[in-house]
């Protein structure tokens, strides 16, 4: 009789301990501060994720949580496995109704997104990130790791660093100063040193002809480019014949020696998105520069 009650106490005690332990391990709510400065609380790692920014979609997939995505924005197109997911609109036309239907645990979006307030009032959790530079992406990967309950950000970031190192080795002689001009738009708008592309250029120890004081994407006077005499010109939107036809531009070494890199639409996506593929972006740039330099010698 006495031993029975003893065993009962023991069972109840063990059960209580297990319950408490499991609560502590599995259901401890974690709170992560996003780029708005708001602490977002998650009871458990989100199982249904909507991403409204291509670089965030890519980051989630790089952390190995591609399977948890249930909806993406219109511009997300990498990796291939997500292309069948419902597309929920673009910058100005996010499909709120569809997002509500999908019942996501969290919506990942950009800090300046206009739909944050609307989603909040509908009771949908949002996590906003502001990714403009390499440092931003490193921080975003760490925060996403915490949100998703993964521990992959260190590995992803190392991979990026290794790829940038490989890209650096592709360039012929690293001591040589290669002056580059990266044009993002034929108006002409250039990629400055503080832009994401500019950061990759400096990682490759290339000299951007645009000084840092001009900001990320300055509209530049074309004669400044002629005077700066870049050795290589990188283009995303115009083509080489546009550049050759510009008044006075034939005096630029890059134009006279035909060292003009024109990137395809797929390559452009890699180049302009500050995401986990930035190592690949560095490789694309250094491969093209290496080809152009060796063929014109």
């Amino acid at each position: 009789m006495r031993s029975m009650s003893h065993a009962r106490y023991l069972i109840v005690g063990v059960a209580l301990f297990l319950l408490g332990f499991s609560l502590a391990v599995f259901a401890a709510p974690i709170s992560i501060v996003d780029d708005r400065g708001i602490a977002v609380v998650f009871e458990k790692p989100p199982q249904r994720i909507v991403s409204l920014l291509p670089s965030l979609t890519e980051s989630v997939c790089a952390l190995g949580k591609c399977g948890a995505l249930v909806g993406i924005d219109r511009f997300s197109n990498w990796p291939k496995s997500i292309q069948g997911l419902p597309k929920l609109g673009g910058m100005g036309d996010v499909n709120i109704e569809r997002i509500v239907q999908l019942k996501p645990d969290v919506v990942l979006l950009e800090r300046a997104s206009p739909v944050i307030a609307r989603l909040h009032s509908l009771g949908i959790k949002t996590f906003a990130l502001d990714i403009k530079s390499m440092g931003d992406e490193e921080r975003a990967l760490k925060k996403l790791d915490a949100v998703l309950g993964t521990t992959e950000s260190g590995r992803v970031w190392n991979q990026i660093k290794i790829e940038i190192m490989r890209a650096n080795k592709l360039l012929p002689s690293r001591g040589e100063n290669i002056r580059v001009y990266f044009e993002v738009n034929p108006a002409p708008y250039a990629a400055g040193r503080t832009s994401f592309i500019g950061e990759i250029l400096s990682q490759l120890s290339l000299t951007n002809i645009i000084p840092e004081s001009l900001g990320p994407f300055p509209k530049i006077n074309p004669e400044f480019v002629v005077q700066a005499k870049p050795d290589v010109i990188l283009l995303t939107e115009s083509n080489a014949s546009d550049i050759q036809g510009r008044p006075g531009w034939s005096a630029i070494p890059a134009v006279s020696k035909n060292r003009i890199c024109v990137f395809t639409a797929d390559q452009n996506d890699v180049l302009v998105r500050p995401g986990p593929r930035m190592g690949e972006a560095a490789l694309i740039i250094s491969q093209c520069i290496q080809e152009k330099l060796s063929s014109s010698r």
């Binding site: 036309d93 993002v184 400044f224 005077q227 008044p247």
Partner: protein
């Protein structure tokens, strides 16, 4: 007596124009640099000179077109973009950019400038068609507004489908004088002389029109044919300017007002001065746009709007109430 005044005023405006063009070749991407021998010859003769001349000519074409539009419609708020040419040109540029990926050789031959020119002409033709002819000014004005709205909406649809083109289309909308060629300068010179010559020959019709349509008819002028010719010149001048520099704001509207006071009311003088005034306004705006934050540039349309708008405000303050200006 009045003739002499006209000549001295004309000389004054011409000298101002020449000074601005010389300034245009001196001021470069490094701010105000006065050493003429220093910079490369290609920079002065292949970049700065065609750019300055091109900006001046485009402004002159817009000023002329604005003068014609205001006299033709007898409306001080009329501008060259009124008959749907602006939205037509914008749509032309938008569709060329949008379909560039097809790699069609026709699209490459037409190019952005050709697309803008064709678009502007199509816009004006559509307005004429919608108005059922060119006989009624009011119908023309209304159909121009309607065409502008419809073509503008079509263009918004383009930018909605291809948001990556937004920046290119916006730089066309704000006006862009940066990449002017000698070939563009030649084209605009020919267009300007052609338009100016024809306009000056038939400017008496505009004088008659300023008395009112019915009075003009009783004077026995072939009003309808002359009106068609003027609309043609309006479309040609606007199309040429827009094709080379984009939709520079406000020059066509402001230029005729800027010179109204010194032109003394005669249409022929008014049109010549409005032509010169447009050129001076656009070139000085271009100079400011490229030197203010050199080597950065501000879109030239912003500067024309601020500069022309401020001058118009000053004129408005100084004109006594009841004055027509």
């Amino acid at each position: 007596m009045q003739k002499n005044y006209f000549l001295s005023k004309l000389c004054g405006l011409l000298i101002l124009s020449v000074i601005l063009v010389v300034l245009g070749t001196l001021l470069g991407s490094t701010g105000a640099s006065w050493n003429v021998l220093g910079p490369d010859q290609t920079i002065v003769f292949d970049i700065r000179l065609p750019r300055s001349l091109g900006a001046y000519l485009a402004g002159a074409l817009l000023g002329l077109a604005g003068g014609i539009a205001q006299s033709l419609f007898r409306n001080p708020l009329a501008d060259p973009y009124l008959l749907g040419s602006a939205s037509g040109a914008l749509l032309g540029v938008g569709s060329i950019l949008c379909f560039a990926y097809l790699g069609n050789s026709w699209l490459e031959i037409i190019g952005l400038n050709g697309g803008a020119f064709l678009g502007a002409l199509i816009g004006v033709l559509a307005s004429l068609f919608l108005a059922g002819g060119y006989r009624s000014s009011l119908r023309l004005l209304l159909s121009g507004v309607v065409i502008s709205v419809i073509l503008g909406a079509a263009n918004s649809l383009f930018t909605f489908i291809r948001p990556d083109l937004f920046q290119s289309i916006q730089s066309f909308m704000l006006g862009n004088t940066t990449l002017m060629h000698w070939s563009g300068v030649e084209l605009m010179t020919i267009a300007l002389f052609l338009c100016l010559a024809i306009t000056l020959i038939i400017s008496p019709a505009l004088d008659a029109l300023s008395l009112g349509e019915n009075t003009a008819r009783t004077l026995g002028l072939p009003l309808d044919q002359l009106r068609l010719v003027l609309i043609g010149i309006l479309a040609l001048a606007t199309g040429c300017a827009v094709a080379q520099t984009g939709l520079v704001a406000f020059v066509g509207l402001a230029a005729p007002h800027l010179v109204r006071k010194i032109s003394g009311g005669r249409q022929r003088v008014q049109l010549i001065f409005s032509c010169l005034g447009g050129g001076i306004l656009l070139l000085s705006s271009d100079l400011i746009a490229r030197t203010l934050f050199a080597p950065l540039e501000i879109p030239v349309g912003i500067v024309t709007a601020v500069l022309g708008g401020l001058y118009l405000l000053v004129l408005l303050r100084r004109t006594p109430f009841g004055g027509r200006s």
